[in-house]
Symmetry: C2
Subunit: 515 residues, 2 copies
């Protein structure tokens, strides 16, 4: 058994059964070992940003880490943008990066690079194995680090000789103990209950674990018992929403709207969320969004057990049997006539099946989408947590891997799609059940909006940086080039029909929505 065998056995013993790959020569012993150590399914990607984004989507839905297998520093570099999003989503990932053999690292060969340096900005844990015998223990440590609440990217660098050399023993270390999130402190629960009982304007600000169905029901009882308002982060890793669940509005994206939304709030209670700050800074607009005099209470930090904290709060408030306001089912009428973003939103809301998973990177094309789908059948909504566009298609790919029996709907902007369009090929190869909808407005519209907000008029060069027409991208051709059937629609009725077909037929598809 060599180091690569030992690594794969340890990953499998630790519960990892999926590895998103883009290997090179330094990883060939790992790849060869996959066939000797059954239990780790490898899924090839054509670009590393697909692998990291897919591992994020998998981790968000499976609640356990996938592995990634990347080729030295530059292969890791291509994965970093989506690892950044995964870091902000606090997704557990075991990231394996091959490197030159330890004996080769002192030479400045072409692929020599500072692999650990590349890994540092996105990883909660980084280690490079020193020899084949160390690999199994390093893998156990990586598993434990990835699972450290609330979850993080753990990068294990595997020099080629640590993979190819024989190991002394064949014992697989036991998997790490399951992690335990920090439990609520009674004095914190009492403080939050006191604040809520004042009757002063209060917001319970939710994200992370607190946006899962069971935790939301607890938050709903607190809101019903106290009159506190439920609000969630603008961008969340995973939000379970739809008919029969507790509805939560997101904090608006633009700073001035968020400030208006929070005006008058005297108590902001964090449940799995961070304090609200603006996405970007602007001249003459504060970054910190809560009003002066608003007390911030941390009921549960992202790494804490939000379920236990909310349960304790419900008990403290005696709210266990308070009737809750759940979201009623709402089925919009199917749109007809002109193809507008709103028509697409309504059509999706009317036709999406129960337990759909939505990967949302539609940016401006999706403005209003959350509103239209609020009463759709229960579903999971996955968002762009780190602002690094190019997440949507890979995230959908990973979610489909984790949940092969559920429909995955990817809402994608045309600009955003082009960072990781290679995802479609992996969806095609694996027969993943993903319906990709590309909102093709031929521009980086969010940038035009932002420029207008600061009062600037774009000149010809600026316009050319914000338009992605000339030439127009043809997503039907791109999808076909990558093996995914695709169509462009021109009316709401055509969209209705294409989307309905996608919801009944398995496998990947793409619908281009020009407007």
């Amino acid at each position: 058994m060599n180091g690569a065998d030992s690594l794969i056995r340890t990953l499998i013993a630790g519960g990892v059964d999926i590895c998103f790959t883009n290997p090179g020569t330094s990883e060939m012993h790992f790849v060869a070992a996959l066939d000797r150590q059954p239990g780790l399914r490898s899924i090839l990607t054509l670009f590393e940003g697909v692998a990291s984004g897919a591992a994020d989507g998998y981790g968000r839905m499976a609640g356990k880490p996938a592995a990634t297998l990347l080729h030295t520093g530059p292969g890791l570099a291509n994965a970093l943008a989506n690892f950044h999003n995964a870091r902000k989503a606090r997704t557990p990932i075991v990231n394996i990066v091959g490197d030159h053999a330890t004996s080769h690292q002192r030479y400045d060969a072409p692929l020599s690079s500072d692999v650990a340096g590349f890994a540092a900005p996105v990883s909660g844990w980084v280690r490079s194995s020193v020899d084949a015998n160390a690999v199994a223990g390093d893998a156990v440590a990586a598993l434990a680090a990835a699972a450290q609440p609330p979850g993080q990217v753990a990068t294990l660098i595997l020099p080629a000789d640590c993979a190819w050399n024989e190991t002394a023993g064949t014992a697989t270390p036991p998997p790490p103990p399951p992690p335990r999130r920090a439990q609520p402190k009674p004095n914190v629960i009492a403080e939050v209950a006191r604040a809520l009982r004042t009757g002063e304007s209060a917001v319970i600000f939710l994200s992370g674990q607190a946006l899962l169905e069971h935790e939301l029901a607890l938050a709903g009882r607190v809101a019903a018992a106290t009159g506190a308002r439920l609000l969630c982060q603008t961008f969340n890793p995973r939000h379970q929403r739809g008919a029969g669940r507790i509805a939560v509005e997101p904090l608006p994206y633009f700073a001035e709207s968020a400030i208006a939304n929070l005006a008058g709030t005297r108590h902001l209670i964090l449940a799995g969320a961070q304090p609200p700050v603006s996405f970007f800074a602007y001249p003459d607009t504060p970054s910190w969004l809560t009003p002066d005099g608003c007390a911030i209470h941390t009921l549960a930090a992202p790494e804490d057990d939000a379920q236990a904290a909310l349960t304790a709060l419900v008990d403290e408030l005696g709210a266990g049997s308070v009737p809750m306001d759940v979201q009623p089912a709402l089925a919009p009428e199917l749109p007809t006539g002109a193809l507008t973003p709103e028509a697409v939103h309504r059509s999706i809301a009317a036709q999406m099946p129960e337990h759909a998973i939505v990967s949302d990177e539609a940016i401006t094309g999706g403005f209003g989408m959350l509103h239209h789908t609020r009463g759709a059948p229960p579903h999971d909504w996955l968002q762009l947590t780190g602002g690094s566009i190019g997440q949507g298609l890979p995230l959908a790919t990973g979610a489909a891997t984790a949940c092969p029996d559920r429909k995955v709907i990817c809402l994608e902007g045309d600009g955003s799609a082009m960072y990781t369009i290679q995802s479609l090929w992996t969806q095609a190869r694996e027969g993943m059940d993903v319906t990709n909808i590309v909102f093709a407005n031929r521009r980086y519209a969010i940038l035009e909006v932002e420029l207008a907000r600061v009062g600037a008029q774009p000149g010809p060069q600026a316009q050319r940086n914000y338009s992605i027409g000339d030439p127009d991208l043809d997503f039907v051709a791109l999808a076909r080039g990558l093996g995914v059937p695709a169509a462009r629609v021109t009316t709401a009725d055509e969209f209705n029909a294409r989307f309905a077909a996608a919801m009944t037929e398995p496998g990947p598809s793409l619908i281009e929505v020009p407007f």
Copy 2:
């Protein structure tokens, strides 16, 4: 004048007139300033790896830096793989990365990241501006750092407020003084001449500046006068070759072939090159490729003035009028019949025009290509310097920007093409004269070769990691989706005709060569 105006004026004063961009909100003041400060042409890319690779291609051909404009840490992250190649090519690049406003950086907003940390592994110089008044001076320092011989990536991080705030003055600092490469030391010249006069087996090992036409002619005189053998690195930033120039063979790629090539060498004389080491390490094969007892003489390190060193050596040897062996013109007959890689190589060699620029990332599809083109009309050959695949298409894009009057031929593997396929869109938008030839063997063939070399048989999972068929990529559809006319050929005659047409018609095109 704000900080962004000040930055752009300083870049222009420093001779920078091209900026490859993929901006976001934090760069909008820079983008808006482009129209107020004429002289910096921005070229939009749909993915940052295209921008960094294009800046590399531009710098290699123009001999001066292009700028890049990237969006915070994740935007930079997407550019890192091709910056790695640029670092190994020692290409001057001024890399501008927007970041959150300084006041916003203490909040953990979604896009907050360690921008300097991302930059460090690929940059020779990194600085973050502290206020708008500092920007011009920082830009001067970045220009000087990028031009530091032999050239490097200089990363200037521009917080949004440093771009949007007004600056105190409007003076543009003078551009930095032109860099001067280190001049040869007489004792080194004497030592090298002495080694060459021994008559012992000697190799002059060339790369960098020493592979330009004039320097090659000097090396050719040394070889003719002393019997030394000329050899170049396997991968070089820019190699001027073809009929009428001094022919130089590259060191073979595989370690055992390289060791055999260098067997018996007593003196290895470095001219712009690093000592030869194997690309990867292998069990039981040394990384260091020169034989025991071979003396290594550094005539010119990569940062030294190789032209001056070779001139001094020619003088020392009295070789100024020695007749040289120049490469005779060789025009292969046009191939006919079956479409094989060799047929493609011969067709290109027979039809490529004078002063063509070849961006070579064909990997296994290009084995033998250098041999067939050795007597083609004079041309520049640009190679994968850092081993990070996904360089070919962007590099061609940048070379075409630097040399709009020359034909650019991009030789691309199908696997490699998929990392930065977005390059085609920029070629189409800018009407760049690039002929892209994709060798489509439907596999990562180099990895299959490497696996076979270590004696491993790929099992089903390994095969699935090395095949990129199922589904087959359709490069004609992909190119059309990105606005580039394309065709798939099935015979050598069809390839001849398509390539001939591409050599006479301006603008981008793609030819898919399945085999």
